[in-house]
Every structure is written in C-alpha cells, then in structure tokens.
Amino acid sequence: MSPIEQNDDDLRALRELRPVEPPPELGHRVWRQGRAEMEAVSAGSWLTLAIRAWTRVGLPAALVATVVGYLSWAVTSASALYR
C-alpha cells in the first residue's frame, strides 16, 4: 500500500511539489537530439530487417534456385547425349 493512502501529511505535502520544466535551450536541444537518435535507430532497424530478410530468405532461395536450375540443365543435357 502506498504510504500516501495511510493519511500521512508529510508525504502528501511532498506530492504538492511541482514538476520542474528544463530551461528552454536545454529542453529544445535534448528534444532535437533525441528525435534524431530515434530516427537513426528506426532507419537502422529497417536496414537490419532488410539484411536479415536477405540473408535468411533471399540468399538461400537464390542458391536453391541456382542449384535446381543447374541440375535440371545437367540432367536434360545428359539425356540429350544418350538420344
């Protein structure tokens, strides 16, 4: 249970202390830097996603397609030699 629910005047008085706004120059600087970081992280995460999709799906699929295509060609060519 929160101590404030226990009718404690000292803690209740503390709740009256207001938030303190940062100085405008600091506030704007931190907001600007944070937003830039957030955008960089988001861009980074899209790139990471794209690389992961390529290495886990795209590249193996391309390799399989190449191998299957080559084997098909090889079998077709070998069959043609015996005809």
Partner: protein, 189 residues
C-alpha cells in the same frame, strides 16, 4: 501502478515512431528534470543526466519490452545515471572539492509575489528536502513526490521491500526534523 494510457505510447516507441518520442518527452520532461534537479541539487549535473536519460530512451525504444512501465523505466534510468555520475565523481579528484561544497543552494531572494502561505510552505519543503542525505532524498522523491508504490521503488533501487520501508521511515523522520529546523530559522527574532 502502471498507467494504462502508457501502452499505446510504449507500442509506438517500440515501432520506432519519432512522434512517440515527442509525446514521451512532452509527458515526462518536467517530472524527470525536477526529479534530477532535486536529487543532485546541481543544475549543471541535472542537465547532463536529463539529456542522458532521454537519449537512452531514444536509443532503446525499439528494444523496450511490450509490458514496459515507461514511467518506472525512465525514473530508473535517471536514477541509475545519477548513481553512476556520483561513482565517477568520487574517482575524479578534481570534483571532490565540488562534492564537499555540495550544500544547500543559496537561498533565493524573496519573491514579492510569492507571499501566499502555500508558496512559503513549498519553499520550506524544497529546502528541507535539499538538505537531506542523498539516500533519503531519493526515496522521498520517488515515493512522496512521484507517488510510486513502495514495492516499485524497492525494485527501482534494487533493495528489498523491508529495507525500503526502513529507509523511508528514516527519511521521513529526517525530513520532519529539517522542516522544524527551517521553520525555526524563519521565526523572526
């Protein structure tokens, strides 16, 4: 207790939406800056730690857990940044002098407009709070000013619930004592 209106904000942060950072910053900047300023009592340090806290949010937003309590997360990061700063300050000999001089900030000149009893009471409270030891200030800011539940604060500070209760009891006794001192000093001779 977790604020249910936080969930859409956490979801947007996890998706990496820059507008979610704007919303989180607008919502928490005053509370975090006030917490840090009251905790470290030095505006220059509070400014650095404030910046560190929100940059950490921006960098870690996509990695937040789905059920993150954003308020508790931000206060924990801010508090840990302060603890880390204090640790490094102790190692930095050049800052020892500054730490020794870490007393109450000079009393502000009385504001002619702030004559209301409530304003004076707040001023006394701020001064009494600022004169407490760091560990007591920390627990009173989190439980009293920010209204976190005691078990949440125990988690944030990395201590057991019973230890938190003891620390809170001690802090309240110290606050009452300091308030009495501040009031005695204000009584005109």
């Amino acid at each position: 207790m977790r604020d249910p209106t936080e969930q859409p904000l956490v979801d947007a942060l996890r998706r990496g939406e820059a507008s979610a950072f704007d919303a989180a910053y607008a919502r928490y900047r005053g509370r975090i800056y006030g917490f840090l300023l009251r905790l470290c009592r030095r505006p220059d340090v509070a400014e650095d730690l404030f910046q560190e806290t929100f940059l950490k949010l921006a960098r870690n937003a996509p990695r937040l857990a789905e059920d993150t309590d954003l308020t508790a997360w931000l206060f924990t990061v801010a508090r840990n940044a302060w603890v880390s700063h204090r640790r490094w300050s102790m190692l930095d000999v050049s800052r020892l002098v500054a730490l020794e001089d870490d007393t109450l900030p000079a009393a502000k000149a009385p504001d002619p407009d702030a004559r209301a009893d409530a304003a004076r009471a707040m001023d006394r409270l701020e001064r009494a709070l600022a004169s407490l030891p760091a560990a007591s200030r920390e627990v009173l800011l989190l439980v009293g000013v920010e209204g976190f539940e005691q078990d949440e604060v125990a988690g944030m500070l990395g201590i057991k619930y019973d230890a938190l209760r003891q620390r809170l009891t001690r802090a309240r006794a110290q606050l009452a004592e300091k308030l009495a001192m501040v009031e005695t000093l204000e009584v005109p001779a």
